[in-house]
């Protein structure tokens, strides 16, 4: 039973107010899509959900992020523990260049100093869940950088899955990929949602409609901090948006 929610999230970089009063609830085993024009704070927001945000020196935060009812920003909470439960996939594929494919999948265990009874089995299941086992099963020892961009991104997903997170955050995971790889990642997401909560940032309206069950529309109007303009079921946000700006955006009139 994992529940993630953001309460009154405000973000600053230095003195600049970037996000204002974001309240979102991410129900268990559902996919939530975050959409909005670039620069409105989607990446910034998703990074607050697993405390990657605080790694930026000028970062400031207000509000709470509750994971199973516990505020992850409490001083007593270890950020490392939060990130173990809330995994993240980045916009640009970032496999570890000095490691082989297999070592990349197992890198999380090593980095978090964890043991696993059956590492080889874990490599196989993780790669299968990222639907790339058949492509790489004969070359597990090859350097990760020998893979194509789409494969590298799925390797990064497999790497996160090997840690068995409760929540998976994905920040525009397909923006650097070809349509074929994009489709496979979407399939992976649809399979994964049976097991975990997923939050995905995307610029692709069709993708949001294909994979998510609820959608939040972020917007930052000239110089003002980004805010959630509309939040609801994906169907409602795309087909009967309440806010005019949402309507404009999902129909491609700006952004």
């Amino acid at each position: 039973m994992t529940q993630l929610s953001a309460q009154d999230i405000n973000v600053w970089f230095g003195q600049r107010h970037v996000l204002k009063d974001v309240n979102l609830l991410f129900p268990e085993r559902e996919v939530t899509a975050l959409i909005g024009p670039s620069g409105c704070g989607k990446s910034t927001f998703i990074r607050t959900l697993n405390r990657m945000h605080e790694l930026i020196p000028s970062a400031g935060l207000g509000g709470k992020v509750l994971l199973d009812g516990v505020d992850i920003y409490e001083p007593s909470v270890d950020p490392v523990g939060v990130r173990l439960r809330v995994g993240m996939v980045f916009q640009k594929p970032n496999p570890f260049p000095t490691m082989s494919i297999k070592d990349n999948v197992l890198s999380g265990l090593k980095l978090a100093s964890r043991k696993h009874a059956d590492p080889n089995g874990l490599v196989e299941t993780s790669l299968r869940r990222a639907s790339m086992w058949n492509e790489v099963k004969d070359r597990l020892g090859d350097p990760a950088l020998s893979l194509s961009g789409g494969q590298q991104q799925r390797l990064c997903i497999a790497r996160s899955l090997a840690m068995d997170p409760d929540v998976l955050l994905m920040d525009e995971p397909c923006s650097a990929l070809d349509p074929g790889s994009t489709r496979r990642i979407e399939e992976t997401i649809l399979e994964l949602k049976e097991e975990m909560t997923i939050v995905i940032v995307t610029h692709n309206m069709q993708q949001a409609q294909r994979v998510s069950s609820q959608t939040a529309f972020f917007l930052a109007e000239d110089g003002n901090p980004g805010q959630v303009v509309e939040f609801g079921s994906t169907d409602q946000v795309f087909n009967q948006p309440v806010d005019l700006r949402t309507n404009d955006y999902v129909n491609g009139h700006f952004g």
């Binding site: 009154d8 405000n10 600053w12 405390r51 945000h53 605080e54 970062a59 400031g60 935060l61 207000g62 509000g63 920003y73 001083p75 270890d78 950020p79 490392v80």
Partner: protein, 323 residues
């Protein structure tokens, strides 16, 4: 603007302390190591100051401005004026000789040579920088000095009526002119590599636009390249100056150290260098005299630290991309 101010939102502290022991040790040791450089610089200053204090105390201001060094233990007189001025004179000659060579080299590498030549020249600059000063001293003493003395003699014959090129002894070896050349060889790579880096960061489009508009190489250099990179080059020159002021062994072999100020007769076989003087006197110095040499070390340390601080400040300002 009519709306009432909302209550300010509370900003939370994000400065998480590392939880695991390993992390705490990691950050702590990095911090310790880094701060040890602060300790190191302070220790250098403190110990040199401590050991040299007796000399400063007994000699007073004359330590800097006087011109006598008498190591008679009964009546020790230690004044480094000629050495200090000599360091400045030799470094100035070195900089004057090195600057055109270094800037030309950098200009050649960045704006004239093709990739292959440019790379070869870059390797050359790095190699020159890696030559130890004792090797350059050997070369300067046995190979270069005789040649440069020949140049000096020719200059004297041609321009000897100008006071700076006068020579009363007829001996053209071991002069500030020659020491300046040796120093120039040492600092060319320093100035050249800073300048090269600054040149290669210039906006290519700006330069090609300037050339496309029909401006020649010269006016592009004067109007576009120099104004944008001038500050950085000055910083590089100051770095070279710092190095020149501190050069010890190489100058020791090619310069006559004389305790009488040679203001500007650069071809005369007498000059000074604080660093070389320390080396020259150290072997035979008694305890009190060593204090005087330590004091010279303090002067050298303060001067070079000052020059280098300014230099690195200027270079850092001229290279914002390095931040």
């Amino acid at each position: 603007m009519a709306e009432t101010q909302p209550a300010p939102i509370e900003r939370r502290s994000l400065r998480a302390k590392p939880f695991s022991k390993a992390d705490r040790a990691f950050f702590k040791s990095a911090t310790w190591a880094a701060n040890s450089s602060i300790v190191l610089v302070s220790l250098i200053f403190i110990f040199l100051m401590w050991r040299s204090w007796p000399a400063f105390e007994s000699q007073g201001v004359d330590y800097i401005f006087g011109s006598t060094w008498d190591n008679n233990p009964e009546n020790l007189v230690m004044q480094i004026g000629p050495m200090l001025w000599g360091s400045i004179l030799v470094s100035t000659i070195g900089v004057v000789l090195a600057v055109p060579m270094a800037i030309s080299l950098a200009y050649f590498i960045v704006f004239m040579a093709n990739d292959r030549f440019g790379k070869i020249a870059t390797v050359m600059v790095d190699l020159l920088a890696a030559l130890p000063s004792v090797v350059l001293g050997l070369w300067g003493l046995l190979i270069f000095s005789p040649v440069a003395a020949g140049w000096a003699e020719m200059i004297y014959q041609g321009l000897g009526f100008i006071p700076i090129f006068d020579n009363s002894s007829g001996n053209f070896l071991r002069s500030p002119f020659i020491a300046g050349w040796v120093v120039a060889v040492m600092i060319v790579p320093i100035i050249a590599s800073v300048t090269r880096e600054i040149f290669s960061q210039l906006d290519r489009d700006l330069i090609s636009a300037s050339l496309a508009l029909g401006a020649g190489r010269w006016s592009t250099f004067r109007r576009v390249i120099l104004p944008t990179s001038g500050g950085g080059i000055v910083g590089g020159v100051l770095l070279g100056l710092g190095r020149a002021l501190g050069e010890t062994v190489a100058i020791f072999f090619v310069l006559n150290l004389v305790f009488e100020v040679n203001w500007f007769n650069i071809l005369e076989d007498q000059g000074g260098s604080v660093a070389s003087m320390i080396l020259a006197k150290f072997g035979e110095a008694g305890q009190d005299e060593v204090a005087g040499l330590m004091a010279a070390g303090v002067v050298l340390f303060v001067v070079t630290l000052f020059v280098n601080m300014i230099a690195s400040f200027i270079v850092a300002k001229a290279q914002p991309w390095r931040k």
